[in-house]
């Protein structure tokens, strides 16, 4: 049965084995039903692939309709626009979702705040309203419920933390060569599933990713529960679609409400009709939002006429932005620029997985949770390595000071 499910995912058995750090030979024996799948691996595979554990261990003779058991998410990820790397990345993220639930369970930090919040937003949104109005209203509720409405400036530095505290899995990792800019799906076994929003780091800026991530949050609220997964591609318009219009409007309103844009522009003495590149750079730096989104928000707020949007978007701000905002640096440059005591700096080079054949960069709070659990002896060294998707030796070299006492003397 495992073989049939894998075929439906578009990830072949050998690749799946290597992604999960399982011997391809052993995995091949599982798919050929020559050997039973041990229980713990059946549970992992079930969560990663999105099926019931009993289905994973079912023989092909017992089940005649593999297609009926294939989770909807994998139908979404079989499209022509996707490459193998996309599917592989989704599989790894689903594994991370499985581990995140487990570490939260063991540390007693289970976060499920997303569930009532998303439900309240859905209930409070008029499905008959125009999509852009639905998005704006939902974003205002989102900002108010998460304390973000208190922010008189950009929320780029704080909204990831807010989402994670709600239990949303936020992943930013590079997928070179992929056209996927962002996607959203649910991870974990029902009824303990959680939303995951993903932004592709590859050739992207932090300012752009803020928009992408909140766009995906809108999909997590409105669309992913019913369609299994949503995908957004680089340079796609997608504005004809109701859900895309709503998500776009949600992201813009969540990041850049009219009053925030107005206040920031006023505090810089910016005249909208004769904005200089330097002023635009400051607006981007202050709002934490990419230039084209600032231009779009300015039009939507009525600060500039629609015909001026293109001019605002074409202002050359790259040099100035790098000099006034460390967020315009690459991730490595940014983290490297932080003081040694800053937690992000301490995690430099310690977040990349090594066991899976394709690497992903784990979220800093997740790595910190695992390491704190290891330090507090809540989990073992072997378990910490498993959760960080690295081997024991790599764990030793990355976190030497914490693992020195793990050998039984």
């Amino acid at each position: 049965m495992l073989n049939a499910i894998l075929e439906a995912t578009g990830v072949d058995a050998q690749t799946c084995a290597r992604l999960l750090g399982i011997s391809p030979t052993v995995f091949g024996e599982w798919t050929a039903e020559q050997r039973n799948i041990p229980e713990s691996y059946a549970l992992l595979l079930a969560d990663v692939l999105g099926v019931d554990p009993a289905v994973i261990r079912m023989s092909s003779k017992q089940a005649h309709r593999a297609g009926d058991l294939t989770p909807a998410i994998w139908y979404k990820f079989r499209g022509d626009e996707l490459i193998d790397a996309d599917r592989e990345c989704v599989l790894l993220i689903r594994q991370l979702g499985h581990y995140q639930s487990e570490i939260e369970e063991v540390t007693g930090k289970k976060a499920v705040g997303w569930r009532p919040l998303f439900e309240a937003i859905r209930q409070g949104t008029d499905a008959q309203a125009a999509p852009s109005e639905q998005g704006r209203r939902a974003a205002r509720m989102f900002r108010e419920s998460t304390g973000l409405s208190q922010c008189a400036t950009g929320i780029g530095e704080v909204f990831r933390g807010n989402l994670r505290r709600l239990g949303v899995l936020v992943i930013e990792s590079p997928i070179p060569g992929s056209r996927v800019e962002g996607c959203c799906f649910y991870v974990g076994a029902h009824p303990m599933e959680r939303p995951c929003v993903f932004a592709n780091l590859y050739q992207s800026t932090w300012f752009r990713r803020n928009v992408v991530l909140l766009h995906e949050v809108a999909h997590a609220i409105f669309d992913a529960p019913s369609v299994a997964a949503t995908l957004d591609f680089l340079e796609s318009n997608g504005t004809a679609d109701v859900s895309e219009q709503r998500a776009q409007s949600f992201a813009l309103e969540a990041l850049l409400p009219k009053e925030v844009l107005h206040n920031l522009a006023q505090s810089r003495g910016i005249k909208w009709d004769r904005m200089s590149p330097t002023e635009m750079a400051y607006l981007v730096a202050d709002t934490h939002v990419e230039q084209r989104a600032v231009a779009r928000a300015a039009v939507a707020a009525g600060f500039v006429p629609p015909e001026q949007e293109a001019a605002l978007r074409s202002l050359d701000i790259s040099g100035t932005l790098r000099s006034i905002s460390e967020r315009a640096l690459t991730t490595a440059e940014y983290v490297g620029s932080q003081a040694p005591e800053v937690k992000q700096r301490q995690m430099l080079g310690k977040r990349t997985t090594t066991i899976p054949s394709r690497t992903i960069r784990l979220p800093i709070p997740y790595v910190r949770n695992v390491i704190e659990a290891l330090r507090d002896q809540v989990i073992s060294r072997g378990r910490a390595a498993e959760l960080l998707m690295i081997d024991d030796h790599e764990l030793d070299s990355r976190f030497r000071e914490l693992v020195s006492a793990s050998v039984d003397e």
Partner: protein, 231 residues
């Protein structure tokens, strides 16, 4: 405590034993346990997968592993094997209990060590594992751990005491592990095997032979010293 009839091994401990198979004359300590003391070395299915999937040593230890399974030095602790250690009518239930415990342990410790310790606790036998962080973490959550939990060097010391290996074999094994940057008990890190034994307390001894190592001191259950007798 009566002599255990089966001894579940964790992945890390097993890898160290395979890495030193040349020095220990093809796993003589394990064969001695099985043939002379009636204690069958065993692994759970999770350890078998971990061993085969081990990036650093999986391929290297594979031939020795296949040989050990083939000649019965090691056995896989499945329902069938379980029925050798409990009344066969109970084997299915005992195996299910062990799996259920393993599931809970696996939230806290690695898969292999979780199901190894769960099997040992369920069967009330010792286990072999070098990772004390797993025992501390299980204890932190109030879970039972096997008693005792043997280290690979306990098996070397046992083999020395029973005459299965001599001091040169044990020291060669120690050097082999040190040369591979494997973790070994502090007593042996900077001392030859015979010198290390002066500050090492073995957790398994032949009750009929002269004691080796130092006297046990009070400590947690996993540090208990047990005595076994030849069949």
């Amino acid at each position: 405590m009566s002599d255990p009839r089966v001894l579940p091994f964790d992945t890390d401990a097993l890898i160290q034993l395979f890495l030193t198979a040349t020095q220990t004359r093809s796993l003589l300590p394990l064969r001695t346990l099985r043939d002379e003391y009636g204690i069958q070395p065993a692994i759970v299915a999770e350890v078998e997968v971990e061993l085969a999937s081990h990036r650093k040593y999986g391929a290297k230890v594979a031939p020795e592993f296949r040989k050990a399974l083939g000649n019965g030095t090691l056995e896989i602790l499945d329902i069938g094997a379980m029925s050798k250690y409990v009344p066969s009518a109970l084997a299915k239930g005992v195996f299910a209990t062990s799996q259920s415990l393993g599931r809970r342990y696996a939230l806290i410790v690695g898969r292999g060590e979780a199901y190894t310790h769960a099997a040992a606790v369920t069967l009330d036998v010792p286990a072999v594992s070098n990772d004390v962080s797993a025992l501390r973490a299980l204890d932190f959550h109030g879970h039972q751990v096997p008693s005792p939990v043997l280290r690979v060097f306990d098996l070397f010391a046992f083999a020395l005491q029973t005459g299965a290996l001599d001091v040169r074999d044990c020291d060669a094994a120690r050097k082999e592990l040190l040369g591979r940057n494997e973790h070994i008990p502090r007593a042996f890190q900077h001392a030859a095997f015979i010198d290390g034994m002066k500050s090492f307390c073995p957790r398994i001894l032949d009750g009929a032979k002269s004691v080796v190592g130092i006297e046990p001191v009070p400590g947690p259950g996993y540090m208990t010293q047990i005595q076994v007798w030849k069949k």
